[in-house]
Symmetry: C2
Subunit: 156 residues, 2 copies
């Protein structure tokens, strides 16, 4: 059967407290597909005419995204709250409107603080590869940096 | 002569009051290339590895972007202030985090209010066509809608 005609996106979609009209609040990933905690996903722009996709992720206090890497790049703008971000072996404190660039094949993880949510926009190519999780060996290599070990352990 | 090696983007670029570390504040367009008023441009993400570009535009109170159309799509998120947006024959009041979609070949213009700036993110394909300005005939057709005529005249 042919696909149904796609419904065009309305020219205005109002925001209210980091939810958007007509945008579904989705789980970050399928449960048990990878380690993560307390994070949701809203796809704000995804269209056959757009080469990029813009998503909004929100991490609850104490939550975090998956530690992963992939060939595609992440272009991130923090929108709300406070947290810390691992990019390679660097750890950054982030606040609203800060920009984070994750180059190809770079380990990365986003963590909210214990007190505040962390919400951020993430721009990716519409066509992209699947993320890789670290092997036990790669995780050990990352943890060899004491600061990274503390970050991954969730210490503030 | 070969190009110099590109300088990699740092993994963190801090924001301060809608300016970003290492990001140049540019004119919106070349002067006299098209009608516009009181608007600046910052390119936040533009990279050979990214199929999209993310730009931040800021319009001073009373200012506006060019009335134009093109084949490529705009995916916009309002970041600060208040204003109104023309998309086709629709006029929308906008506030922070609202999403605007401009489909291909659709006339559009962004206007700040008389009292407040309007700042917004705009995602576009890195490869895109050049905007077209309306002919006198097209402008008359747009102005045939009384609401659009008032909008283009800058009436609040």
């Amino acid at each position: 059967m042919p696909d149904a005609d796609p419904v065009p996106t309305p020219s205005l979609r109002n925001a209210e407290d980091f939810r958007w009209a007509g945008v579904e609040l989705r789980p970050y990933k399928q449960e048990n597909s990878a380690p993560f905690k307390a994070i949701s996903r809203q796809v704000l722009f995804s269209d056959p005419l757009l080469a990029g996709e813009l998503r909004y992720f929100e991490i609850e206090p104490g939550g975090h995204s998956t530690l992963e890497r992939h060939e595609h790049m992440h272009a991130v703008m923090i929108l709300r709250g406070a947290g810390r971000v691992l990019v390679g072996a660097a750890i950054h404190d982030v606040k609203p409107h800060d920009l984070i660039t994750v180059p190809p094949w770079t380990w990365h993880q986003f963590r909210a603080t214990q007190r505040e949510k962390l919400g951020f926009l993430c721009l990716v190519n519409a066509e992209r590869d699947r993320p890789q999780l670290p092997t036990a060996e790669e995780l050990n290599a990352l943890r060899a940096h004491p600061k990274v070990a503390r970050f991954l352990g969730g210490e503030p």
